[in-house]
């Protein structure tokens, strides 16, 4: 094995755990927003679940190819995926906060 610390595998699993967490959080938001009769926020929860699924598939496919980059000493950062997941999480947590404030104001 080229990578004795299995760095690439651990990082791959971290991406996959995060993608699953995004999907779970999206389902939770969709369900609670639907219960509170906020269909627009529920749709955002569904979109969040789709983003999570896309990241999960990307992580699974991409990390097979990462060994090549490690062998050639290429750049192993993922700024696009990092920004996407960061921005999606900021959006999700903000929407969840808005939902909570709406629910607490309307009782």
């Amino acid at each position: 094995v080229f990578d004795p610390g299995l760095q690439q595998e651990r990082t791959s699993l971290a991406w996959e755990r995060t993608a699953v967490a995004l999907m779970v959080a999206g389902v939770l938001l969709a369900r609670y927003a639907a219960q509170d009769a906020h269909p627009a926020i529920a749709a955002l929860g569904v979109a969040q679940t789709m983003v999570g699924a896309a990241v999960l598939v990307w992580a699974g496919v991409h990390y097979d190819g990462l060994h090549g980059l490690l062998r050639t000493g290429g750049d192993v950062t993922h700024p696009t995926a990092t920004r996407l997941v960061g921005a999606a999480t900021v959006a999700f947590t903000s929407v969840a906060l808005v939902l909570a404030v709406l629910v607490s104001l309307t009782g």
Binding site: G5, Q7, Q8, R10, T11, A14, W15, R17, T18, A21, L22, V24, A25, L28, L29, Y32, Q35, L70, G73, D75, V76, T77, H78, P79, T82, R83, V85, G86, A87, T89, V90, F92, T93, S94, A96, L97, L99, A100, V101, V103, S104
Partner: protein
């Protein structure tokens, strides 16, 4: 007392500059590639912060929905969700600043985020549990 890393500017700050303070530039612009193990460890740390943010927001949403009769429901849910937004915003910033520092072979930037999150989450949990017991005893 936790002091937030907040300095109020004397003159109005342009929006682009304010945005740069929260979203640092692409770290690949400076320095040279560090040991790939450091890059991947930094990435895993970023992902761990993202999962922390998601867990805090799931807890906040659950508090709002699973504790309908609890007096402290709204403050508990809203404060957990506010913490989750803070963690989500800080996650990318920390990743980019740490990556840039590693590329320039500088020490990693210090951060108050872990202290703020630990104190904030502990305070919310302790306050909620005390309120819960008081409510049950009454």
């Amino acid at each position: 007392v936790v002091v937030l890393p907040l300095r109020l500017p004397s003159a109005p700050v342009p929006l682009s500059k304010a945005l740069r303070a929260v979203v640092p530039p692409d770290p690949r612009r400076s320095g040279t590639d560090p040991d790939y193990r450091f890059t991947l460890a930094n990435e895993r740390t970023f992902l761990a912060w993202i999962r922390t943010a998601l867990a805090l927001s799931a807890a906040g949403l659950a508090a709002i929905h699973l504790l309908p009769d609890f007096t402290g429901r709204d403050p508990l849910g809203v404060s957990l969700l506010a913490l989750s937004v803070l963690v989500a915003v800080a996650a990318y910033r920390r990743w980019a600043l740490a990556e840039a520092a590693m590329r320039r072979q500088e020490p990693l930037p210090a951060s108050r985020l872990p202290a703020v999150i630990a104190v904030g989450t502990a305070a919310a949990g302790v306050a909620a549990s005390i309120l819960f017991v008081v409510e049950q005893v009454r």
